[in-house]
């Protein structure tokens, strides 16, 4: 590089990529830093490609209560593994400072978990005065629906 097939070595036909690399690196670092914050909690095989769940940014909020059930008899509150009895007091504590209408508990359950497990969690939280739950599910991507629509 730096040597051209052209005549002298005064003429340079190369793009200065240094500023571009700078910007790329900064963007990359931003995304790397931001990503772990967005995926809080543990990984659960939540139901995918559903048509009608409502979007709710509150799920990503740190203050919202998310109970994950990745497998039967495994309960996580946020990232912490808890058993069913501790879950009740932990939920009560987490909801203590919330207004009545904000008392919603999100349940992230794996597709292969039996419904009885989810019912157990519901039974535990309703003892603490919760009457609204959010079943976290993945919405079908818009592009995928558009592609699938003509087929039906």
């Amino acid at each position: 590089m730096g040597m051209q097939a052209g005549g002298g070595d005064h003429l340079q036909s190369e793009i200065n990529v240094t500023p571009m690399v700078d910007i790329m690196l900064v963007l990359l670092i931003i995304f790397m830093v931001v990503t772990p914050f967005l995926q809080q909690g543990i990984t659960v095989a939540i139901p995918r490609d559903l048509k009608n769940p409502d979007e709710d940014q509150a799920i990503n909020k740190e203050t919202s209560v998310i109970i994950s059930v990745p497998n039967d008899n495994e309960y996580y509150l946020g990232k912490k593994k808890v058993n069913l009895d501790d879950l009740k007091s932990a939920v009560e504590k987490a909801l203590a400072n919330k207004k009545e209408e904000d008392k919603i508990v999100y349940i992230k359950s794996g597709v292969n978990v039996s419904y009885g497990e989810v019912v157990k969690v519901i039974n535990a939280v309703r003892e603490k005065g919760v009457d609204k739950i959010g079943l976290v599910a993945d919405r079908k991507k818009k592009g995928a629906t558009a592609a699938a629509a003509p087929a039906t």
Partner: protein
Amino acid sequence: MGMSAGAGNRAVPYINVTPLIDVLLVLLIIFMVVTPLKPSRFKADIPTQRDPNEDVSKLKPNPLTLVVSITTDLQIKLNQDLMGSVNDTSALAAKLQQTFQQRKEQHAYKVGMETATSTPEDQRIEKTVFVKAPRALKYGDVVKVIDAIKGAGASPVGLQVDDLP
């Protein structure tokens, strides 16, 4: 560039950054694709803790109550009528939509909403649907049915958690 402070123009110190940029771009794209996972959820109501001393016999059953129950062999029932299976919820969705449309025409309002003219008409129609599923069922199947119910326009969706098989 190309010219160094050194003597000739043969030894040019220059790092080939092209592979570096390639790798960076790929990483950048991966992170950009992964990041905007917009979370979504189904809102469902659950019954509050039952008072054991409450006299249930005095409660009048609502004739507009819709209960979608799933049997252990994955059949769906709306009240008492069979409505296809978990893998094909279109019959259930169509029936629910038809029911809500009918109620709209007949002005079948929610209890306590008959005179609340300030709320939009759509929100006053009784569209409550309860879901009842046995404990042995997979959660994924239950969510599929809830998806169909929500798609038909039901709100709120209630989960029955007492006396499940």
